[in-house]
Amino acid sequence: MSTSRREFVKLSGTFGVLAAIGVLTEEQALAQQAAWNKAAFETRNLADTLKALGGAGVTESKAIAITVPDIAENGAVVPVAVTSRIPGTQNVYILVEKNPNMLAAAFAIPQGTDPGVSTRIKMGQTSNVLAVVKSNAQFYVASKEVKVTLGGCGG
């Protein structure tokens, strides 16, 4: 069955709008292919980041362990380790409060994988590092301050 005119108009309308507001540039199409949450990586505060990740509120939790140095001499390479003891941890997010965009990294933890990751991040200045954990559609957070003596954004 061929697409009816009505449906065709509807479809082309949708694509037209997407292209017009710049949703479908080539680069973004690629990013979408690999499922990259662009919106979440462009937010500048915790509330917006959570919203982009599909959460509303967040509860502070002592069941999240965040390991960072107290003082980072080089903001370009700050080791961060997050371990969650919250049952059913599905996602772990690492956020830096005072970076231009808060979200640094997002991890999806399938069943059978320990709910903990270590990586290294850049920090522009002294700031809180936040570890957000998603479990059963609920968000939990823990934070720790890292003093940066040399920023990581100047290159």
């Binding site: 680069e27 690629l30 990013a31 690999a34 499922a35 990259w36 949450n37 990586f41 370009a76 390479v77 700050v78 080791p79 380790a81 830096v96 970076n99 231009p100 965009n101 979200l103 640094a104 990294a105 997002a106 991890f107 999806a108 933890i109 399938p110 059978g112 994988t113 320990d114 903990g116 990751v117 270590s118 990586t119 290294r120 991040i121 850049k122 920090m123 990581g152 954004c153 100047g154 290159g155």
Partner: protein, 103 residues
């Protein structure tokens, strides 16, 4: 072709410990070069680690992950001699996959 990753996977008593070191500039898009032009963003956006056909970790990264990214995690169900595979994709669509045997 991007440089290969260094992957180490060790079977420990409490699971398989995976450590990956990737080779990537992780350019933020906020830095300026010598003549004041902004260096365009270019960073790894997605990482997937698989074992026996199953994804054991997937990650989405922003430009705030350090240059030459490091990643460590642990998963259950792997044993010595199994193969794991790590794939990354960057914002220019470049990709690299490397494999390692659990030791």
């Amino acid at each position: 072709m991007p440089d290969p990753m260094r992957i180490r996977a060790n079977a420990l008593a409490d699971g398989v410990d995976v450590r990956v070191l990737m080779s990537h500039e992780m350019e933020t898009g906020q830095r300026k070069d010598g003549s004041g032009n902004v260096v365009p963003a270019h960073f790894i956006s997605n990482v997937t680690v698989t074992h026996a056909g199953k994804t054991v970790l997937s990650a989405e990264w922003g430009p705030a992950v350090s240059k030459n990214p490091y990643l460590q995690f642990k998963f259950q169900g792997g044993k010595k001699g199994d193969e794991i595979s790590v794939t990354w994709v960057d914002t220019k669509g470049e990709t690299r996959t490397d494999k390692a045997v659990i030791g």
